[in-house]
Amino acid sequence: MTEETQYTRKFRKELMAGLSSLVLLAVLARAGREMYGYEIAKAVKAEGEGGLIFKQGAIYPVLRSLNSLGLLESRVEASAFGPPRRYYNITNEGLQALNDWQGAWKDMREFVDDALKAGGSQHAYQPTA
């Protein structure tokens, strides 16, 4: 593992702050059934190579916040081992939010991509005079 600078870590953290909600909603919407925290953590890790930049411990507070916002619903069930599990499922409001956020994310990504491309390519804005 390469040691990241403090700025990079802060930057990652800030990027992830809003996106983690989007990712978790997407995972639950795709699953189409209720899942408990550990299952969701595993599903997020399986999403791609980027899995590790997202610490699994961070999904639990996000799940809680989505739950209290009404985007997820939850119920607790006793488990065969360990503490009781909290199962989460996406609500209709959550599906609506996911839809809206996907649009927002698409716009944002295009905007950022454009900005980065313009900076690195030959087509950068050249003053004419």
Binding site: K55, Y60, S65, P83, P84
Partner: protein, 305 residues
């Protein structure tokens, strides 16, 4: 991030997480929730890797789950963003901003939450007390019988559920952060004896029981304060207004002729009406104070780390 010692067992990791959350000045209720989330995850992780020693699993978990300090930071920031949206402001900063004028108590939602809690606490207090005393005495009595052990376990379980339910009531009405999950009950496949021993050694069991017992006298006191306070203030104001409108004054001033005459005059009745209103506000202040005090008691006895 300074990690003095890599945690090698779940217990060590949880202890490190507790320390990190304390350092972030998280409320006890949040700490308990975070510990439960974490324990659920770690125990699942260990169950998924049956042959691997616990220390090795934990070493990889710190990579994927995050270090205790990182997790603490996540919970802290999530709680900070959430508390703005909730029905109750977080007890720390907005409390100082809130104007503490005498009449502002009327627009403070905590006042009414506390008032409802005070009225409710008689019923819950009686129930908790009866349940605890009955369960405790039956557990002791049954201890010589074969059903003694399952009964005691059931009783301790019910104490935890009651404590949790009370925590939810306290959070909803008094606005203090309490655990939102039930505490873990079983850890792996321990024997019945080990579970009883754990439960008996767990200070949370005893402090919860103490709280449930304490709720009877407290509940009676709260109920009496609320009912007498509201009845007196509303009664005095209402009686004075009634006297002003109809001319029939029902006040008895204990045989004092000067006061007796005074309350039979219009200015006297107006003064009484105003005094009743002031008393009403004093009662609201008392209710808010009792709410804050009781929230502290609940946090102290029901939330254990």
């Amino acid at each position: 991030m300074p990690i003095s010692q890599q945690p090698e067992t779940v217990r060590e990791y949880l202890n490190a997480l507790t320390a990190a959350l304390r350092a972030e000045k998280c409320p006890p209720g949040l700490i308990v929730d975070a510990l439960n989330d974490c324990e659920e995850h770690l125990r699942n992780e260990i169950a998924q890797n049956p042959g691997v020693p616990e220390a090795d699993v934990l070493a990889s978990v710190v990579e994927t789950y995050g270090t205790p300090a990182e997790i603490a930071e996540e919970y802290k920031s999530m709680e900070a963003t959430l508390s703005g949206a909730g029905p109750f402001p977080k007890s720390e900063q907005p409390q100082d901003e809130r104007p503490y004028g005498f009449f502002n108590v009327l627009s403070d939602p905590r006042t009414y939450g506390a008032l409802v809690y005070m009225l409710l606490s008689l019923a819950t207090g009686i129930f908790y007390f009866t349940w605890t005393v009955t369960g405790l005495s039956l557990s002791v009595a049954f201890s010589i019988l074969i059903i003694g052990i399952p009964f005691a376990l059931l009783f301790i379980g019910s104490i935890r559920v009651l404590a949790h339910v009370e925590g939810r009531i306290v959070e909803a009405l008094l606005g203090v952060r309490m655990p939102r999950r039930l505490p873990p009950t079983t850890q792996g496949e321990e024997t019945v004896w080990a579970r009883i021993k754990d439960a008996l050694l767990d200070i949370r069991t005893w402090s919860s029981m103490l709280y449930l017992l304490l709720m009877l006298p407290l509940g009676i006191a709260y109920f009496v304060i609320a009912v007498v306070g509201l009845a007196c203030s509303i009664g005095i104001t209402g009686g004075a207004l009634f006297g002003l409108i109809t001319g029939h004054v029902e006040f008895q001033m204990g045989g004092n002729p000067v006061l007796e005459h005074f309350v039979h005059t219009a200015p006297g009745l107006i003064v009484l009406a105003i005094a009743g209103m002031l008393l009403f506000f004093v009662v609201l202040h008392i209710a808010r104070g009792v709410g804050a005090l009781h929230a502290r008691i609940a946090e102290l006895l029901l939330v254990r780390l």
